[in-house]
């Protein structure tokens, strides 16, 4: 009798475990599935509208009321903006993280609080950066332009670069720097050895920042303006891909909305390409480590 009760008790507990496991699997499937869902929706809606004309032409007159043309200006605008701001952010971010790891002691108050600050900055939304940059631009009398966007996005991407490189520097074996120092190298020379060691990882950091820069809307919404022209000068307003999607989508004309879907598809392809590259580089960094 007693034995029977206890087996039923155990069976009940095991059944509970089975249900929980099933639930967990369902949750996991929902989460990973949402990714395919999003990409799938955009593919499904965007593919019929994607054409060579879309990506190879700038908008003709009346683009936003359904007349001809494409989004080349937005693609180029996005690339310029993202390339420039990622470039500047790398030039500023890499020295900062090297400084925090090699020049000041890793556990010092400065290093710890600076790293914490960058962690926190990583979460500050781009609309806040956009708002402050916008008011500074008004104060200085600069109009919305590619330059304004580049400055805003640079501020936004520096924390990404610093954080990612900081993570990478954690993987550098202590022996490597110790050996370099013991041979009489200066800190800068040691930094160069370290840099060589994490080289693939640095490209990962750059790509991450680039991905964030090319996809941002809130920051450029206020600072970059919008234009139908090809971006030629840095002090002129320029279109970016996310902004083009955003504006075209709010149009009541189905054809223009279709262009928004196609633009979204172009942006998705760019992002997926970037992710693929980071993945390959990460694999390379791992091989490097062994």
């Amino acid at each position: 009798m007693a034995k029977q009760v206890s087996t039923r008790f155990v069976r009940n507990r095991l059944r509970k475990e089975k249900i929980a496991k099933l639930l967990m699997q369902l949750c996991g499937i929902t989460i990973t599935g949402s990714l395919f869902f999003i990409v799938g929706t955009i593919l499904y809606k965007g593919l019929p509208y994607l054409s060579w004309e879309m990506v190879s032409q700038s908008p003709q007159g009346g683009f936003y009321i359904g007349k001809g043309g494409g989004i080349l200006n937005a693609i180029l605008g996005s690339l310029y903006l993202a390339l420039a701001s990622t470039g500047i952010a790398t030039l500023i971010g890499v020295p900062i993280s090297l400084y925090l790891n090699l020049y000041v002691p890793k556990d010092s108050f400065i290093a710890r609080s600076a790293k914490l600050l960058f962690d926190v900055l990583f979460g500050i939304p781009s609309i806040v950066y956009g708002a402050i940059a916008f008011s500074i631009m008004i104060w200085l009398g600069i109009r919305a332009s590619l330059l304004g966007g580049i400055i805003t996005i640079t501020l936004l991407t520096i924390p990404i670069v610093v954080r990612t490189i900081d993570e990478l520097l954690k993987t550098v074996p202590i022996d490597l720097t110790q050996v370099t120092f013991s041979l009489g190298a200066t800190r800068w020379e040691a930094a160069r050895v370290v840099l060589k060691y994490i080289k693939p990882g640095i490209f990962t950091a750059i790509l991450l920042a680039f991905g964030r820069a090319i996809g941002d809307v809130a920051g450029v919404l206020l600072t970059t303006g919008f234009s139908d022209n090809m971006p030629k000068y840095i002090d002129e307003p320029a279109a970016t891909l996310p902004l083009a999607i955003f504006f075209q989508l709010s149009s009541p004309i189905p054809e223009v909305q279709g262009r928004a879907y196609a633009s979204a598809l172009v942006l998705t392809i760019i992002i997926l390409f970037i992710v693929l590259c980071t993945h390959l580089l990460a694999a390379k960094q791992k091989k490097h480590k062994l």
């Binding site: 507990r13 509970k16 475990e17 929980a20 496991k21 967990m24 949750c27 996991g28 929902t30 989460i31 990973t32 949402s34 990714l35 869902f37 999003i38 929706t41 955009i42 020295p95 900062i96 400084y99 925090l100 020049y103 600076a114 914490l116 962690d119 979460g123 500050i124 939304p125 609309i127 806040v128 956009g130 708002a131 402050i132 500074i136 008004i138 501020l155 200066t186 800190r187 800068w188 020379e189 991450l208 991905g211 996809g215 941002d216 809307v217 809130a218 919404l221 996310p242 999607i245 955003f246 989508l249 928004a260 879907y261 979204a264 942006l267 992002i271 997926l272 992710v275 980071t278 993945h279």
Partner: protein, 295 residues
């Protein structure tokens, strides 16, 4: 020899200068936002601004309550959806999944994190909003356009999946194997061990992850703006339209210069976001750093 030392010093001071500049920029943002929102704060007291629900810039009424509650609604809905899903999924990944599954799911989370907000917005408009309008709302007997805080919450939930999953997985991995073994050897099933050992041990980390998720959700502008309707009212149900703070800033910046105090009010909104998000981030990072130090 001298030259090498000089170069070393040069790099040292150069990088220190960059670091200080970047920190100054943050200080500048904080000071600038405060200065700009001072005119509004001088005119009315802070409590008045935060608790009034009348928003009519032309008459000089700047009540932030609808926007604050709009943000709260969207954020809470997204957490209700995302937190249980992510806790369950990360337990599965850490305790049950094979190495191969784990190694293929986590990179997918990186892809999800890399998708720009505007694409989430497009997905929201194309998929979430129609589903809510045509299928979900009729179930509850509600008539809605679908552009609602519910739609905003769903889109945000998907957007915070990656950050929640990656932190939760990391936190769960720090639970010592000895503790689990002890529980299992006393006859607990694996699920019982998870509930009474893993989750309890990982609690501070899970809370920190949720707080980080909250701060991400509060600051998200475009995706939410595209799907939540943007009506300056206090949402009463999941299917009501809302108007979160970031959307307020983004929508009105162009025209703010012509109306007195408008820019000050919008800057106050930005300051509000900055302070809340800075605080949330700081708290959760401190918790996570401490966990990492112990682990």
């Amino acid at each position: 020899m001298r030259f090498r030392l000089w170069k070393d010093k040069l790099v040292q001071y150069g990088s220190a200068f960059l670091l200080i500049t970047k920190i100054l920029v943050v200080v500048l943002i904080a000071v600038g936002l405060t200065l700009k929102s001072l005119p509004l704060l001088k005119n009315e007291n802070l409590w008045e601004i935060l608790s009034s629900s009348v928003w009519s810039p032309l008459r000089g009424n700047f009540g932030f309550l609808p926007f604050i509650l709009g943000t709260v609604w969207v954020t809470v809905i997204s957490l209700i959806i995302a937190v249980p899903l992510c806790i369950m999924a990360s337990i599965y990944l850490v305790e049950f999944a094979s190495d191969r599954l784990r190694k293929s799911v986590l990179p997918l989370m990186n892809v999800l994190a890399a998708i720009p907000p505007v694409l989430y917005g497009v997905w929201g408009i194309l998929f979430v909003v129609p589903i809510l309008r045509n299928y979900v709302a009729p179930l509850f007997g509600v008539d809605t356009t679908g552009f609602s805080v519910f739609a905003g919450g769903i889109v945000l939930a998907v957007m915070i999946f990656p950050i929640l999953i990656s932190i939760m997985v990391e936190v769960m991995q720090t639970v010592p194997q000895e503790l689990k073994d002890a529980s299992l050897s006393l006859g607990a099933t694996q699920w019982e061990t998870i509930v009474s050992v893993n989750l309890r041990k990982a609690k501070p980390g899970i809370i920190a992850a949720v707080v980080l998720g909250v701060s991400r959700a509060i600051g998200e502008t475009i995706a939410v703006l595209m799907v939540c309707g943007n009506v300056p009212q206090i949402p009463k149900s999941w299917f009501d339209a809302g108007y979160p703070i970031p959307a307020l800033i983004a929508n009105n910046f162009g025209e703010m210069m012509s109306i007195p105090m408008y820019d000050s009010a919008l800057m106050f909104a930005a300051l509000l976001l900055f302070v809340i998000i800075f605080g949330f981030n700081l708290i959760s990072r401190l918790v996570l750093n401490r966990l990492e130090d112990h682990g």
